[in-house]
């Protein structure tokens, strides 16, 4: 019989039985849904009370174009938004910056000033729709713009629900939109958490992402382990800044993937939830049950998809949705079948949304909480996964903790090593991909690659640059410059930077100006390239 292993490396037996659960205490380790340690999910009735939020990742071109796509998906039943920003925005460059050439509006929408944010959410009531902002290095100013738009709409601060990603550690490890060195970057993460907890109590000011680290190549167990280490680093930082853990931990959220082997993914989340609950309760002394809950967006993973016969990715999306549902997702997002080619077409986005809706409404996966509980296999795999995650966390500790491991580049090197191992497993067929390394169609190579490509319009950049020039011309320039000077002064000190950032934003200072005002003090990150 062929040997099989989970992506995390542990062997998978052909059959499991009661003997695989010997010595475990089901009350302590498994418990009931909605009860500590939340192995079975964070809510008592899970989807019977409320099905997961469906939140496709959207953004391209100008804020006006993105606004239209938001409204299109909301008209088809999507109940929340997840905003993609273009790379210049993510890196704090204005659309007319020479380094932004060719990138404006490409992989997300361009935001230069508050005027763009106003256009993006025109006609979308921010006291009723929850919005994720996929923004990290520039999370503080972009979220400030979002809060400013909500204020202008007249939304009550305690009705504003937004989730800026604001997870800079995973950017250093995997996604690359870092700007400042590690320490000032962490300071900004903390400033946004602190400010939001005090002023916008229903916002979720950090979304800890294992997702991007997995996409960059790490294993399932490493994805959870690194995510838990990053969450611990933020909690530790906020406690050291003087906050009570229960004053911010209930609003920490997570973003993880569920592609791969369905039962391994389910086991990863069940193990992760109980490790997180124990960490918050035992290590950090959190007393509020809400602080113990691992609330997660679970979804996609474009790396699950292949370029050959792209329609097959729709089928893969369906089983990822099933895995996410069985894993106890609070929010779900799926990659689109054309993702290997282009940013998603409207049709591909709609298919992804419909996939989640079919999973929720038709499949029965949402009928009862944690339906796989008690399975010999899933419980044994959950235990094995927990051991593996604990071992990976210990490896990070040996590197001096996640922050030191990020500064030295040791984690980045390990993720790259795993990515190469994964590639070799694809080449050998150990990890099968239908149409790519098994059941490959003859002579289909070119014919099957016809995907309707999103037609990027080069005029987007011109429109955006013209709008930026107009805003600069029409604003009270003196007020903007004074606000920027105050921000630079504040950056030299130790106080929270959100107030001066809010002030700068509302004078229509540009994102690039706000970035420079801080970069003058903080400097730039230098990547530790261990190669």
């Amino acid at each position: 019989m062929k040997e099989l292993r989970a992506h995390a490396g542990m062997p998978i037996k052909p059959v499991y039985g009661p003997e695989d659960l010997a010595g475990r205490d089901p009350d302590r380790d498994i418990g009931r849904p909605g009860e500590y340690p939340y192995t079975r999910g964070i809510h008592k009735h899970m989807y019977r009370d409320r099905v997961w939020t469906m939140r496709q990742y959207i953004g391209f071109g100008t804020p006006e174009e993105t606004n239209a796509r938001f409204k299109y998906l909301m008209a088809h039943g999507q109940d929340a938004l997840n905003v993609a920003f273009d790379l210049p925005t993510q890196l704090g460059l204005d659309s007319d910056d020479p380094r932004a050439d060719g990138e404006v509006g490409r992989v997300g929408m361009a935001i230069d000033t508050l005027a763009d944010m106003e256009a993006a959410f025109q006609g979308i009531p921010l006291d009723r729709v929850s919005v994720s902002l996929t923004i990290n290095g520039m999370a503080a100013p972009i979220t400030a713009m979002y809060y400013a738009v909500a204020d202008k709409q007249g939304a009550a601060a305690d009705r504003v629900v937004t989730t800026p990603q604001n997870d800079i550690l995973k950017e250093f490890i995997a996604r690359g939109t870092w700007i400042y060195p590690v320490e000032p970057s962490l300071r900004l993460v903390g400033d946004l958490i602190e400010y939001s907890a005090r002023r916008y109590p229903r916002s979720n000011p950090v979304s800890v992402c294992g997702y991007h680290i997995r996409e960059a190549g790490c294993t399932t167990a490493q994805e959870m382990a690194y995510g838990l280490c990053i969450a611990a680093a933020y909690v530790d930082m906020m406690v050291r800044r003087g906050m009570e853990v229960d004053d911010f931990a209930p609003r920490i959220s997570f973003n993880f993937t569920a592609w791969g082997k369905i039962f391994e993914e389910v086991a990863k989340f069940r193990a992760g939830r109980r490790l997180y609950a124990r960490m918050l309760r035992e290590r950090f002394g959190a007393r509020s049950p809400k602080s113990w809950m691992f609330r997660s967006l679970i979804g996609g993973g474009g790396s699950a998809f292949v370029v050959q016969e792209p329609e097959n990715n729709i089928v893969r999306g369906a089983y990822i949705a099933l895995a996410a549902a069985l894993s106890g997702a609070q929010t779900m997002a799926l990659p689109t079948y054309d993702e290997a080619y282009t940013i998603p077409s409207a049709k591909a986005q709609l298919i992804a949304l419909r996939t989640m809706q079919i999973c929720a409404e038709e499949s029965g996966a949402a009928d009862t909480a944690d339906p796989l509980a008690g399975s010999y296999y899933v419980e044994a795999l959950t235990n094995a996964m927990e051991e593996q995650i604990v071992a990976e966390i210990a490896s990070v500790d040996r590197l001096g903790g996640i922050v030191e491991a990020v500064k030295s580049g040791a984690i980045q090197a390990e993720v790259a090593r795993q990515a190469y191992l994964f590639e070799q497993k694809l080449a050998s067929g150990e990890i099968p991909k239908v149409g790519a390394n098994c059941h490959v169609a003859d002579g289909a190579a070119e014919a099957d690659r016809e995907v309707e490509l999103y037609g990027f319009d080069p005029a987007v950049a011109e429109t955006q640059v013209a709008k930026l020039a107009r805003v600069r011309r029409e604003r009270d320039d003196r007020a903007a410059r004074a606000a920027l000077r105050r921000l630079t002064d504040a950056a030299r000190g130790e106080g929270n930077l959100m107030e001066p950032i809010m002030e700068a934003v509302t004078t229509y200072a540009t994102l690039g100006e706000i970035n420079r005002a801080m970069k003058d003090v903080f400097g730039e990150h230098k990547e530790p390239v261990k190669w």
């Binding site: 790379l87 370029v307 190469y420």
Partner: protein
Amino acid sequence: MKVLVAKPGLDGHDRGAKVVVQALRDAGLEVVYSGLKRTPDEIVAEAIQEDVDVVGLSILSGAHLPLARRVVDGLRAKGAGDVRVVVGGIIPPRDVEALLALGVERVFPMGTALPEIVAAFKESRSL
């Protein structure tokens, strides 16, 4: 043969670039990796300083045409037009010809198998 694998532009996705670096090294090539977010000018300067034979650009953001053009033109302007440039990443089929036309030697669009990339570099060596 010596290779510079480089990430031009603002794109932060380096999984593919780092996998190719490891594969080329395992195949016996000498490889330098630029790190993220290098400008075309920085890449041209590094290629000349490291005296490489090939520059491999990895671009996933969609900005491959202007970025590749600036690297190819930059090398020529600095008298290093003999340095070959190859491009990998999310390159839609319609852009492959355009890249070749501006002087890129080979394009490895998404879905290119790793052994194919390694073989292409090795063939290039015997030229």
